[in-house]
C-alpha cells in the first residue's frame, strides 16, 4: 500500500440478514449458436419460474458476460422486459460472482432493491475464444497478444513457472488438485470432462505453454449461472431454502510491486474476512476456489489462510480434495472439469456452494456441510490477475 495511504479497513458493516438462494445452472454446451442474451435469458427465466415470480417482481439485476457486446446490462432490461430499480453490469470475469454478491447484499440491506437476480453467462461460438483473447484489454493488445498469442495459457504459464521455481511446487501437486476435481465432476451431467483422469494421463498430456499442459486448462464452453440475493424474510415468504452471507472481501490491483504474481488481493483483506464471519479457517467444511489454472488454486489456499505463503505444495500433499476427502474443494469439479462458460465461471463456485449448503447438490454431497469459503479471481489485464474476492457463507 502506498505510504501515507489512509487505513480504510475498519468500520465495515456486517451482512446480517442477507441471504442467497435459488442456485440455477443452464447446462453447459461446448459450442452454441445461441447468443449470450439467450443464455442469460434462460438463467433469468429459470430463476423467476422456480421462485414463482413474475419478471416484474425482479427489482434488482446484476449481469456479467464477455460476449454480450454491443449490449450491456441496460440493453438486457428491454430485451428481457424487466424494470429494475437497481441495475449493475459487472465485467470482472472470475471475480464477478463475488462482486455481484457483495453489491447485491448491500442493495437489499439498504432497501434499494428487494430481490436481486445475479446472472452470469456467455455463449461460445467456434471463433469466440480467439476473438475474446485478441480484444481482452488494451495492455493485452499492446503488450501480450503480439507475443505468441498464447492467451491466458501463456500468461499463467509464466506465473506457474515462477511459482514452481520459488516454492518447489511440482506438476504432480497440480495433478492432485485436477484429478480430485475431476472425481467430483463425474456426477455432474453437463460437465465438459466426464472421464476419470489418471496421474499418467495428466502427466502425459500435451504441453500448451510449458509448464501448463492440457489438463491444467479449462475448456471454454457456453452456459449460464444464476442465483437470487434478498433479505431473510423475503426468502422465507418465497419459501426458498437459503444460505446466510457472513463476510465478503474484494480487492483490485494489489501488490503491484511483486515482479510476478505469487499472491492475490485476498492476502490484503483476509483477516477481516475471517473475523467478520467469526470463524477460523479450520471451521469451514469445504472451499470453492477460482480454478482457471491449478497454480491459482494453490495460491488461494495460501492467501485465504489455510496455510502460509509457500506452503501450498505441502498443503496439497497432506490433504485429499474430493467431496469425501480431508479438504473438499471445488465440489462440482470446478471450471477445470465442468468447463468455463465465460463469465459464468465467476458464479459457478458460489452457485454450487449454495446447493451444497441447502442440501441440494447436483453431485456428491459434502457430509454435514455448514459453511464454506467461495473465492473469485479474474481479469489478467497484462501480466497478472487484477481482481480477487472471497465470501464466507453458511447454512441457515
Amino acid at each position: 500500500m502506498a505510504q501515507g495511504a489512509r487505513d480504510k479497513s475498519s468500520g465495515r458493516q456486517s451482512y446480517d440478514g442477507v441471504v442467497a438462494c435459488l442456485p440455477v445452472t443452464i447446462p453447459y454446451r461446448r459450442y452454441s449458436t445461441n447468443t449470450a442474451q439467450w443464455w442469460l435469458g434462460r438463467a433469468l427465466r429459470e430463476l423467476t419460474t422456480r421462485a414463482n415470480l413474475r419478471p416484474a417482481d425482479i427489482d434488482g439485476l446484476a449481469v456479467s458476460s464477455f460476449t454480450l457486446a454491443p449490449d450491456t446490462a441496460i440493453g438486457l432490461t428491454q430485451h428481457f422486459g424487466v424494470s429494475p430499480r437497481w441495475l449493475d453490469h459487472i465485467p470482472f470475469g472470475g471475480a464477478s460472482g463475488i462482486v455481484a454478491l457483495r453489491r447485491a447484499a448491500r442493495a437489499v440491506q439498504a432497501g434499494d432493491a428487494e430481490i436481486v437476480a445475479c446472472i452470469a453467462g456467455d455463449t461460445n461460438h467456434v471463433d469466440s475464444f480467439r476473438k475474446t483473447l485478441s480484444n481482452f484489454s488494451r495492455f493485452a493488445q499492446d503488450a501480450v497478444y503480439p507475443y505468441g498469442a498464447g492467451g491466458a495459457n501463456a500468461s499463467f504459464a509464466l506465473i506457474t513457472k515462477n511459482y514452481m521455481n520459488q516454492y518447489g511446487a511440482k506438476r504432480e501437486d497440480f495433478a492432485k488438485l485436477c484429478i480430485a476435481q475431476r472425481d467430483n465432476a463425474l456426477a455432474i451431467p453437463f460437465a465438459m470432462m466426464k472421464k476419470k483422469l489418471t496421474l499418467d494421463e495428466y502427466m502425459a498430456a500435451r504441453p500448451i505453454a510449458d509448464p501448463v499442459h492440457l489438463f491444467d486448462c479449462v475448456m471454454p464452453c457456453a452456459g449460464a449461472e444464476g442465483l437470487l440475493v434478498c433479505r431473510e424474510d423475503v426468502a422465507k415468504s418465497l419459501t426458498l431454502p437459503y444460505v446466510r452471507v457472513l463476510s465478503i472481501i474484494e480487492r483490485h490491483n494489489a501488490f503491484t510491486s511483486d515482479p510476478i504474481q505469487t499472491r492475490g488481493g485476498w492476502a490484503v483483506d483476509i483477516a477481516e474476512l475471517w473475523s467478520m464471519a467469526g470463524l477460523k479457517p479450520d471451521a469451514v467444511d469445504f472451499v470453492q476456489t477460482y480454478d482457471d489454472y491449478p497454480v491459482i488454486v494453490m495460491m488461494q489456499l495460501e492467501d485465504l489462510g489455510f496455510c502460509t505463503k509457500g506452503e501450498g505444495p505441502d498443503f496439497v500433499r497432506s490433504h485429499t480434495f474430493t467431496n469425501d476427502g480431508s479438504f473438499p474443494q471445488n465440489t462440482s469439479g470446478g471450471q477445470l472439469s465442468v468447463g468455463q462458460a465465460g463469465a459464468a465461471g465467476g458464479l459457478l463456485g458460489l452457485v454450487e456452494a449454495v446447493r451444497q449448503l441447502i442440501g441440494a447438490p447436483l453431485g456428491t454431497p459434502v457430509r454435514d456441510a455448514r459453511s464454506c469459503v467461495v473465492s473469485g479471481f479474474g481479469m489478467i489485464n497484462y501480466d497478472r490477475g487484477l481482481s480477487s474476492g472471497a465470501a464466507i457463507i453458511a447454512r441457515a
Partner: protein, 413 residues
C-alpha cells in the same frame, strides 16, 4: 548457443510457396511510441516527467503519480529473465506455424516488467538486454537478447523474423555504375549474401571500377536501366523470384534550384531516374517480393531506399535534387503499407553529401560511399526502418525535430 544457419538448399519447384502471415499488429496510438523507437533501433520507454517512473506497457496516465506527461525516452536495456514459457498452442495463424515460441517475463533494472520474445540464448534466471524490434506486422515488440553477444546469434530463427539479415539472401543493387553501388556490392558480399545482382545500364558504355566489381565473389552483373520500363520488367521476370533484398542505388545529383534554372531537362531526368525509377522497380519487383515474405530461411525481406536527408527539408543549393528525393521518400511511405502484408520492410537510409564527384564543391563533412554501404548492411541486420548516416544527416534530423522553420532558414545559407 544458436545453431549456425545452414545455406538454404535450392528450392524444390514443386513445393508450394508459403503465404506470408502477420503477427497481431494492432496497437494503441500511445504504444506506437515503441514503434517509432524500434524503427531507429533505439530502446525507449515512457518516463514520467513528474516522478521519473519508467512505465510499461504504454499508458496515458502515470501509475505512480497520475501525470499525463509521459514522453518516450531512451532507457537502460538491462534486466533479468525471471520466468519463461514456450507457447505450444497459439490462437494466431502466424504463431501457429512457428511454435514452440518462447516468451518470458523480464524485470528491467529501470523498473517495469516486460513480457518479451526470447532469443534462444536468453535463459531463465540470467541477465538479458532488451531490444525493440519491428515484427513482420510492422509494429514494435520487445525481444530479450543474451546479455553479451553469442556465436551465431543473428541466426536465431526468431530474431531473424525481426531482421533482414543479408546472410544467405540474394540482393539486387540497382545501379552498379556509381561508387555507392560498388561499395554496396562489396559490403553485401562481406555480409554473406548468397548472390549480389548488380544492375548496369547501357553496358556498352565504359564502367569505371567494373573489373573490381566483377571480381567480388557473389556478384552477378545483370542488365538494368531504371529509366526503361521494359528493362526493369525484363529483369524482374528473369530474377525477381530469387531476389530477397533490393537496394536502389540510382542517383542523379545535380546542383541548382528551381527558380534559378533554365528549362526542365535536368529536373525531368532527376524525376525519371529517381522517382519514376523507384516506381518502375516497385511495380515490377514489389508484388513478387511481397508474395515471398515467408519463403524459408532466405525469404524476401527488404526494399532499401537510399534517400538524401534533404528529402526532409529542401537544400536550395541542390533544390531540384532535394525535391526529387522528397518524392521518393513519399513513395516509400506508400510502399511500406503496400509491402507490409508480405512482412517486407522498406528501409529509408538518409544521408548527406557524399564523397563523390557530384558533390565536388561541397565542403566536408562528407560521407564515404563505403560508410553508407556499411550502414545499410547494419540497418538490415538490425531490422530498422529509418537510418540516418553521417554527421550531416544526424544534424539535420536533430534540427528538424527542434525547429523545422529555423532549419529552413539555415539551409538557405
Amino acid at each position: 548457443m544458436s545453431e549456425p544457419l545452414q545455406r538454404p538448399k535450392r528450392k524444390n519447384p514443386l513445393q508450394r510457396t508459403k503465404h506470408p502471415l502477420s503477427p497481431p499488429g494492432v496497437r494503441s496510438r500511445t504504444a506506437h511510441g515503441l514503434t517509432a523507437a524500434a524503427a531507429e533501433g533505439r530502446f525507449a520507454l515512457q518516463v514520467c516527467e513528474d516522478c521519473k517512473t519508467v512505465i510499461y506497457p504504454p499508458r496515458d496516465c502515470c501509475p505512480s503519480c497520475l501525470s499525463a506527461r509521459l514522453p518516450f525516452r531512451d532507457v537502460e536495456r538491462g534486466g533479468v529473465l525471471v520466468a519463461e514459457t514456450a507457447v505450444q498452442v497459439s490462437a494466431d495463424p502466424y504463431f501457429r506455424e512457428r511454435t514452440p515460441w518462447r516468451v518470458g517475463t523480464v524485470k528491467l533494472d529501470a523498473g517495469p516488467l516486460i513480457v518479451a520474445h526470447l532469443h534462444a540464448d536468453a535463459l531463465e534466471g540470467y541477465r538479458v538486454r532488451l531490444d525493440l524490434k519491428l515484427d513482420k506486422s510492422g509494429s514494435a515488440v520487445v525481444m530479450a537478447l543474451p546479455e553479451r553477444d553469442t556465436p551465431n546469434m543473428a541466426d536465431d530463427p526468431h530474431l531473424r523474423e525481426m531482421t533482414c539479415d543479408p546472410k544467405f539472401r540474394r540482393v539486387l543493387i540497382t545501379d552498379g555504375r556509381t561508387p555507392v553501388g560498388q561499395a554496396m556490392a562489396k559490403a553485401f558480399a562481406e555480409a554473406g549474401a548468397a548472390i549480389v545482382f548488380v544492375g548496369i545500364a547501357d553496358p556498352w558504355k565504359p564502367v569505371p571500377g567494373f573489373e573490381a566489381l566483377r571480381k567480388i565473389g557473389p556478384v552477378e552483373i545483370v542488365p538494368l536501366d531504371l529509366t526503361d520500363s521494359e528493362s526493369v520488367s525484363e529483369q524482374a521476370e528473369q530474377n525477381g523470384a530469387r531476389i530477397d533484398i533490393i537496394v536502389n542505388t540510382a542517383e542523379h545529383v545535380r546542383s541548382g534550384g528551381i527558380v534559378d534554372r533554365h528549362g526542365l531537362t535536368t529536373v525531368r531526368e532527376q524525376i525519371d531516374i529517381r522517382y519514376l525509377g523507384l516506381v518502375r522497380l516497385a511495380q515490377a519487383f514489389g508484388p513478387v517480393l511481397r508474395a515471398r515474405g515467408a519463403d524459408g530461411a532466405n525469404a524476401a525481406a527488404a526494399f532499401v531506399n537510399l534517400v538524401s536527408v534533404h528529402a526532409l527539408m529542401n537544400w536550395p543549393a541542390y533544390g531540384s535534387y532535394s525535391a526529387a528525393e522528397a518524392a521518393c521518400l513519399s513513395a516509400a511511405q506508400c510502399m511500406r503499407t503496400e509491402l507490409r502484408p508480405g512482412g517486407i520492410k522498406v528501409m529509408n537510409v538518409f544521408f548527406g553529401p557524399l564523397e563523390t564527384e557530384w558533390f565536388q564543391t561541397v565542403p566536408p563533412p562528407k560521407l564515404a560511399p563505403s560508410a553508407l554501404a556499411r550502414a545499410v548492411v547494419r540497418g538490415l541486420q538490425q531490422g530498422l526502418e529509418d537510418v540516418f548516416v553521417g554527421d550531416i544527416a544526424e544534424d539535420i534530423r536533430a534540427r528538424l525535430a527542434v525547429n523545422p522553420k529555423a532549419l529552413e532558414r539555415e539551409l538557405a545559407s
